[in-house]
Amino acid sequence: MKRYGMLIDLRLCIGCNACTMACKAEHGTQPEVFWCKVLEKEEGTYPAVKRLFVPVLCNHCDDPPCETVCPTEATYKTEEGLVLIDYNKCMGCSACILACPYDARTFIEEERFYFPDTPIPHGVDELRGHKGIVQKCTFCSDRLKRGEEPACVEVCPPSCRIFGDLNDPESDISKVLKENSCFQMLDSLGTKPATYYIQFCKK
């Protein structure tokens, strides 16, 4: 059985936010909603200051706290390890937002558009009509069904994202995980995230 995961190499991320825009174009997320975003971290003191970029998204955890707290079972885990939301079941209590340590979820109070009456210029309707519910990254589950990679992985200019089957030792992600020292965010909380990071270079 496949177990999808993502590896992000923080040494390569240049903070271009192409992934943020690709995700937005793919799913039609509304203004101020970002399923995938790039956070910044400043390190050092003048004159030796550097700015580091940390792409964050839903970690599609093996033991997702969002699924545990969800009273309506709107949040569910697929056999391939994707943590998804059934918008028709969600009652918008936001307990999942409080349970998620990764700021991966957003509550949608009302429908808003970048342009009148349409989420984005390309007419994506995936999220149309869904308000009063919680949204998050789906690892582009529709693209996966078509045999494609998530939009953020495909678009990344420095190719800092690798996506694949963690249960397949021959997959690219498994090989890179074996060859590099990687970490998972807040793994002490026991969420068992499926998103790994290669640490920044330390001088």
Binding site: V38, E73, M91, E109, M185
Partner: protein, 286 residues
């Protein structure tokens, strides 16, 4: 506008409506608990009104209340599902008990009393368990939250019970030492809050920031003035004065409603401050 910076984040979802729900549901359940003991129907009515208002506050907070009927689907893991079940259980046992004098006088009354008391206790504590299991927010992730919220509900409930009994069943109210119960509970509650807060700074940067925000930061006025001043010191002083020196009936009828209102406001402000102080741990070590 969201800030795209690695660092600590505030809880911005559980807000005043949720604090209203926590306060009114817990207090109402405590009043119903007392109403079962004293066999006081007006008290039970007051408790049911409070629980109903609390539930309404939560419905207003939901994004899609039309789906709220699904809220009992995850009883195995979700404290919200369990809370919905406890609420249904409380109504199932208390509504018929309040509505039927025949039932209250029958042998079946003991079953309704037993069930109602159990569900009332569960409602008074489940919100503490709900927040206590949120690992993402270290300030809430504590076993102390359930007893703190339980005691808060019990103290508020006792004040309302005392007040309602003094109107509808004054001979019974006179024979019950509510003030001793209040003194003991307020002292225990304060100790529990102290244990919780003292244990936090060593936990994590987010926990330290939460305590700082509450005690000396933006929320200090609400916490010290509202949660502690109105919620603990005022009712404690009142209970101590009544217990040691006693008050005349006219003095009691003047001060009890005022202190009760202050206590309820303090309870709400305390829970509101606890919610507003919730800060998520940073995803990367500083």
């Amino acid at each position: 506008m969201e800030e795209f910076i690695v660092g600590l984040r505030l809880n911005n979802r559980f807000n005043s409506l949720v604090a209203f729900n926590f306060t009114l549901e817990g207090t109402g359940a405590a009043v119903i608990l007392g109403a079962f003991f004293f066999n006081c129907v007006p008290c039970m009515t007051a408790g049911l009104i409070l629980v109903g208002l609390g539930a309404l506050a939560l419905l207003f907070d939901l994004g899609s209340p039309a789906n709220s009927w699904r809220s009992v689907f995850n009883l195995w893991e979700s404290w919200i599902s369990r809370g919905a079940l406890f609420l249904a259980g409380l109504l199932l046992f208390s509504l018929p008990y309040a509505g039927s004098a025949g039932l209250r006088d029958s042998a079946a009354a003991i079953i309704f009393k037993g069930g109602g008391i159990v569900f009332a206790i569960l409602i008074m504590s489940y919100t503490g368990f709900l927040l206590g299991t949120m690992k993402a927010i270290p300030f809430w992730n504590s076993r102390m939250l359930a007893p703190i919220f339980f005691i808060q509900s019990l103290v508020s409930g006792i004040f309302i019970l005392n007040f309602t009994l003094s109107i509808f069943s004054s001979e019974l109210a006179v024979n019950v030492n509510f003030q001793l119960a209040e003194i003991l509970l307020l002292t225990a509650g304060s100790a529990a809050i102290g244990i919780h807060l003292l244990g936090l700074p060593s936990k994590s940067p987010a926990a330290r920031e939460s305590v700082k925000r509450m005690l000396t930061g933006r929320l200090r006025l609400l916490f010290w003035g509202g949660g502690i001043g109105l919620g603990i010191i005022l009712p404690l002083l009142f209970a101590l004065i009544v217990q040691t020196e006693g008050l005349s009936k006219s003095e009691l009828s003047l001060w009890l409603p005022l202190v009760m209102t202050g206590r309820l406001a303090g309870d709400f402000l305390f829970r509101n401050v606890y919610l507003k102080s919730g800060i998520y741990e940073s995803i990367l070590d500083e």
